[in-house]
């Protein structure tokens, strides 16, 4: 089955590559139109969400705005969701995708994922403040709520000796944590950001450094990954890392410092 999928993806990729040169260069098209269309999330606070006026704002829209200003064109944001973001790109409905997308080998075959990645989500623990957690090592023999089937449950149990208490979904884990069944809840760090701002979670904190990062990739059409448009984005994202732009935007939206950004900045310097 997997071989079939890989073969199918490869065939589609080959088709796109061979028909590639016929398509108009996106970079020229953007400059001609004077408009850059970027697909971002509109339901993933604070990375992409609607403010009270209905405008899409957040971490990713800010980055999109920077791309537009570098090109000297107007920005248009198109809200996307995980299930349609790659199709929108393939159809040319959007020129660029900045939509919290994890980089996977399969996705690399479908869209032109730009290296380096511009962000990463990792694993963190939403802990009770009174438990005063400081390090991952302190989780040894402590009860930690989690989601059943998450790939990192085993990693954390094995490496840090945490006692994982895994529930079926977010609602159960959240309730179990609030009722004191565990001292913390382990999940995607980005999922905790919004919760930390709510009064319900006043007695909780995210004291540990995020681990097991999974990068988020910006994407263009597959055939343009190595063309002028893809190269322009590679340069831009590298520049974002080098100049500290990403950390600046991160700070603006009150996102706790990401270890991934620190590491990448050190590497590009």
């Amino acid at each position: 089955m997997l071989q079939l999928i890989v073969a199918g993806v490869a065939a589609v990729a080959a088709f796109i590559i061979t028909t590639g040169p016929l398509a108009a260069q996106t970079l020229d098209k953007i400059k001609q139109r004077g408009v850059l269309v970027v697909g971002t999330k509109a339901d993933y606070k604070p990375f992409g969400f609607r403010d009270t006026s209905g405008a899409i704002v957040g971490f990713e829209p800010d980055l999109a705005r920077d791309v537009a200003s570098r090109l000297g064109v107007r920005l248009e944001l198109e809200p996307v969701v995980s299930s349609n973001r790659m199709q929108f790109l393939q159809q040319g409905k959007i020129d660029l995708m900045l939509a919290t997308m994890n980089v996977t080998p399969e996705r690399r075959q479908t869209v032109g994922i730009i290296d380096p990645s511009y962000y990463a989500s990792g694993v963190n623990v939403l802990a009770i403040k009174r438990a005063s957690l400081k390090t991952w090592e302190a989780l040894k023999n402590q009860k930690i709520c989690a989601i059943q089937g998450a790939w990192y449950n085993k990693v954390v149990a094995e490496k840090y000796g945490a006692e994982i208490v895994a529930f079926r979904g977010q609602a159960e884990s959240e309730t179990a944590l609030l009722q004191g069944n565990c001292i913390g809840w382990m999940y995607d760090d980005t999922a905790f950001l919004e919760r930390l701002g709510e009064p319900k979670w006043a007695a909780f904190e995210m004291p540990l450094e995020t681990i097991l990062d999974e990068p988020w990739g910006a994407a263009v059409k597959l055939e343009e990954r190595n063309g002028p448009w893809g190269q322009f984005m590679t340069t831009t994202i590298t520049e974002w890392h080098r100049s500290g732009k990403l950390m600046e935007v991160e700070k603006k939206w009150n996102i706790p410092p990401s270890a991934f950004l620190k590491k990448l900045r050190a590497e590009t310097k």
């Binding site: 009770i128 085993k154 004191g180 069944n181």
Partner: protein
């Protein structure tokens, strides 16, 4: 005895046939699966004993002269027999458990009752409700003349229940009880919903990590068939041992 070669054999099995039984050759998976098996067996044993005890006591209370006691028993049976066990488990763990909390030495509010104990309480009460009805059927099958004879000999209601009625009723009830206990053993798997690390919970974690769903499903199947087989065999032996030659109610 060094059994490492046995574990290694399963690693070779994976390398040669693709059958991925990490629960044998991966030390971490082996430890957690073994703990899962032990947790399941402990859960089953405790629930079996508690539910039968509830059944025996409940059936006696059902014949009580006090109207209130009878009504309470009836209410309990209806509540636990007419609601799904998974819903009961969630109700106990999340709804009741949320109120039963104490502050521990570290100043943290922790639940008084652990998820394992909630599972034992809930499943015992669930199966116990059925057991009461099963024993009641057995009691009603005991000939009225036998009970009258016991009374005539000066037995109190309690003594007659313990020495005359229950021993006879128990023999009549065993086949139905057997059914219900087999069901109870299988129902312990729902404890995974409140994160009790029993076998299904552990297997679920393992196949999420190793992507060996088919292998783990087969392992579960074999283990449950064996465990239920042992239970059925034991009760069957017991039934034969208790048989009174010539007694057919």
């Amino acid at each position: 005895m060094d059994i490492q070669p046995v574990w290694d054999w399963f690693r070779v099995l994976h390398a040669t046939t693709g059958i991925k039984l990490t629960i044998f050759y991966d030390a971490f998976d082996r430890a957690r699966f073994f703990n899962g098996l032990l947790t399941s067996i402990r859960l089953m044993a405790l629930c079996l004993v508690c539910s039968v005890a509830i059944g025996i006591v409940g059936a006696w209370v059902q014949g009580s002269r006090l109207k209130l006691l009878r009504a309470l028993t009836q209410a309990y049976i209806q509540f636990f027999r007419n609601t799904p066990p998974l819903v009961q488990l969630y109700f106990f763990y999340f709804a009741l458990g949320g109120y039963l909390r104490i502050t521990n030495a570290a100043g943290l509010e922790v639940p008084v009752v652990s998820n394992f104990v909630w599972a034992v309480i809930c499943l015992s009460l669930y199966a116990g409700a059925f057991n009461i009805e099963i024993f009641r059927a057995g009691i009603e099958a005991v000939p009225k003349e036998t009970v009258d004879a016991a009374e005539a000999l000066g037995y109190s209601r309690f003594k007659a229940y313990v020495y005359i009625i229950l021993p006879l009723a128990f023999r009549i009830s065993l086949p139905a009880l057997n059914n219900n206990l087999v069901n109870l053993v299988k129902t312990t798997t729902i404890a995974y919903a409140i994160a009790v690390p029993e076998m299904l919970y552990v297997a679920n974690q393992i196949w999420s990590d190793e992507l060996n769903v088919a292998e783990m499903m087969n392992v579960l199947l074999v283990i449950y068939v064996s465990l239920v087989g042992v239970l059925v065999y034991v009760i069957g032996r017991w039934e034969r041992a208790l048989r009174i030659p010539g007694y057919t109610p």
